[in-house]
């Protein structure tokens, strides 16, 4: 692994952890009182990794941030949820990006929906119940909204990186 890749990966993991920690202070649950509703800003980092590094490296970063996140604040049940949601979202986003037919908005929206699906499935498996599926429609709706927000954040961040060294790492798909 090139040193620069290692440095960038470490930076992205740190950024993801900081974002998901910050996100805990946003009282989103007050607006939508459902378990598991969050902005998913850390997904922004996953998208950065996907676009600026590689699909493989992005996956490693995702695993690292899930594991470290659970060490710092999520706990073990949180790990199961964020891993299932995260991996499913990652697979969908990588595929959506590779297809070349979506912009960062579409990739983010599809990723959010996949994350919600993964979360609900993980919760169902943990509780040994299919009734967690009843959360799915509500989570999908909020996921649509947060997906657009995260997508806009990604577009904003990527635009800011234009003309920098990172820009050389593809802005087209």
């Amino acid at each position: 692994m090139k040193t620069i890749t290692l440095a960038r990966s470490a930076l992205l993991v740190a950024m993801a952890l900081a974002l998901s920690y910050m996100e805990r202070f946003l009282p989103l649950q007050l607006i939508v009182p459902l378990p598991g509703v969050k902005l998913g800003l850390a997904n922004l980092v996953t998208m950065m990794a996907l676009y600026f590094l590689s699909a493989r490296q992005g996956f490693v970063i995702l695993l690292l941030r899930c594991v470290l996140g659970s060490v710092f604040y999520g706990g073990l049940s949180g790990l199961a949820m964020s891993l299932t949601g995260g991996i499913l979202a990652y697979a969908v986003m990588a595929a959506a990006k590779k297809s070349g037919s979506f912009s960062v908005y579409g990739v983010s929206i599809l990723g959010a929906a996949a994350h919600n699906l993964g979360q609900v499935l993980a919760a169902g498996m943990m509780m040994g119940s299919v009734y967690t599926l009843f959360y799915l429609p509500f989570l999908l709706l909020t996921g649509l909204l947060t997906g657009v927000i995260t997508g806009s954040a990604a577009a904003f961040a990527f635009r800011a990186l234009r003309g920098t060294k990172l820009d050389a790492l593809t802005h087209t798909a």
């Binding site: 912009s103 908005y105 798909a173």
Partner: protein, 123 residues
Amino acid sequence: MKRDVLKFRKSDLLAAALVLLAALLTCALLPRLMQTGEFASVYQDGRLIRRVPLTVDQTFSVTGDYTNTVTVKDGKIAVTVSDCPTNDCVHQGWRSSGGAIICLPNRVEIRLPSDGTVDISVP
């Protein structure tokens, strides 16, 4: 063809519509696929012939020697029409839990979900 990945596209709207559709579909289909809550069990001649979710409003008939029309509404169940001689079943009215609605002439028993009290009746 290279296109700007930072610009919103029509296909993004399609993705959003897809998610919205999935949300609406799951919202509409899930309650039907997984009937939650309490069930009433309809027995005829001692055999379970139907499990009725009390959460879904519906009307159905149980036919034997006579015909009982059973209606579920607002979480309650009742025999609303019956051509049996005494109509005892209809007179038991709307019930939601505890015991059973019984139509003896038609040998129909609608067992209701437990209301939490101990059932001391002999089976």
